[in-house]
Symmetry: C2
Subunit: 320 residues, 2 copies
């Protein structure tokens, strides 16, 4: 039976269209987009002078292995301005838009990198989040990755991005408000409770002492997965070294499982951290982009997902 | 300067990334997906027995020209059930999922049909909305169209769809609440006022005595356009014949302009009608699917749009 499910906390509904009964392997990408050796890739070693001035780098043996610089086609603005009124509110999109090139190797995907390299990538994510927060006019920092055409990548060389903004985005405010209401009613963190409830159920994917991964009850994407530290931390900077290693490990386990079982599907992931001074439980969300949102999704706000999270979790578990 | 803009009413933000400065023709689809004469198309004349039992048809000269039947891969359920609790709310996805085949001609797009045919298509949309509303358990009826791969079409033969549901979707509730607040403060309909403000400005696209079309201030999609009757009607059934003809004409003017100037881009449109007993001003939204939502959009809820609505409106106007 096709089922309407509500998110744990948010007023966000999905239709889990079980009746279509697709098997997990029917979601596999039909072909792999080969990561071509483009004639010119500005993210490759040798093109350093073609990017905007470098912000940070990680070196090994005298050569960079991770590199950060401003996005040449920035979505943000360096001006800080607030204007417009009534029905026509606007502000300058004040903030920073950074690119984090995760490897010098043009053809490697994130999941192909070694665990120790991935840990360095996570450290750089955390460093950039932390650095961007220092500007008091910045209200939020969003770290995200686009992998594959359908996930919005324009350049194939593996990279993540960071956008910092002068407002707290609506998607974050919704979570902050909903978790706030939950805390007021119960005295507890909603996300800590979500894991308590999911840890013994059919949507659990993986855990160790530090970190939990599961397919959320009202998954919007086929094979959507959430990864979060078990301890109540509001931002990844607050994880200790052991937690960071576990977090990187969990994220990579899921991505490698997607890559190997669904033939390198396109995906996004993003970090939801707490706004400054808030209490939101830090969590990462992996969104495989295998299905398209169409007129129904745009017009209703309800997402049709033909892959029940219980089946998705079983698919992850069976290959970890 | 890249700019954050808030929707007229909703807590919905976009970044209008003007700095990328793309010209309208840079958004043109690179190639046209030819509407192939697939070996078997279940929407073509001759395949009537392969679809679920017909719900309605329009005939001309003894042959159908428009045909309605249930979606074989329904997202809804005929069961009516409410269960789950706490963090795990769910209901059966009670409702109907219908397909409206708009022409017997396999290769024609909606914009290729004659004005008198389009008027009949609109009449059938309205008839199906009205019939679905008769079930008191149905709380909302969403009419939408997916044209082109990137807009989520699985079958190329021109068709629209209708999904009726036992809940009012969040996207509608948001508009109802925001318009309700506006009415309480001002005594006026927000959408009537939006047109009043847009009618003399640079985002105006087209109007006649009955109907208005414009590019909304906080457009989420390149070339997004809204079409609505000027008179305050809450549902398309309440339009008179003249209004219906104008509405069909406006919708087609925009779609034909997209088709001819951007090389048949993929698009969705949907109708936002008022829930039963409500007062929401009926409007249709056209969403060209030329850009992809990536990790930033999913993680923040803020949409980056590189085509300012002022430029989009000028592009529409210059070809009407």
């Amino acid at each position: 039976m096709n089922e309407l499910r509500k998110d744990y906390l948010l007023d966000r509904w999905v239709i889990i269209a079980k009746d279509r009964g697709q098997r997990p392997d029917e979601f596999a990408k039909k072909h792999v987009d080969e990561k071509r050796a483009d004639s010119v890739c500005f993210f490759c070693p040798g093109s350093e002078l073609s990017t905007p001035p470098e912000i940070a780098r990680v070196e090994e043996g005298g050569r960079w292995v991770i590199r950060v610089f401003p996005n040449k086609f920035s979505a943000t603005s360096c001006e800080y301005k607030d204007y417009g009124r009534g029905m026509f509110l606007r502000k300058s999109a004040y903030g920073k838009h950074e690119v984090i090139v995760e490897t010098p190797d043009h053809v490697k995907r994130l999941g192909d990198l070694t665990d120790s390299h991935i840990k360095k990538v996570l450290d750089i994510y955390i460093n950039r989040i932390s650095e961007n927060k220092k500007d008091p006019r910045i209200k939020y920092v969003l770290l995200f990755k686009n992998e594959g055409d359908e996930a919005g990548t324009s350049l194939v060389h593996s990279h993540s991005q960071l956008i910092s903004l002068g407002i707290v985005p609506p998607a974050i405010m919704e979570e902050v408000r909903a978790a706030g209401r939950y805390k007021k009613d119960s005295g507890r963190c909603a996300y800590c409770d979500i894991w308590k409830k999911e840890s013994c159920g059919e949507r659990r994917i993986w855990e160790d002492k530090q970190v939990a991964a599961f397919a959320p009850y009202a998954s919007r994407f086929p094979f959507e997965a959430w990864v979060m530290p078990k301890r109540h931390v509001t931002t990844p900077e607050d994880m200790d070294e052991k937690e960071k290693r576990s977090f990187a490990k969990a994220l990579m386990k899921l991505i490698r499982r997607l890559d190997s079982s669904l033939n390198y599907p396109p995906y996004n992931f993003y970090f939801h951290i707490s706004p400054r001074g808030g209490d939101l439980h830090f969590h990462a969300v992996i969104c495989p982009r295998i299905a398209r949102w169409a007129g129904f999704e745009l017009g209703s706000g309800i997402i049709i997902n033909t892959m029940p999270p219980e089946v998705a979790a079983e698919h992850y578990r069976s290959g970890l």
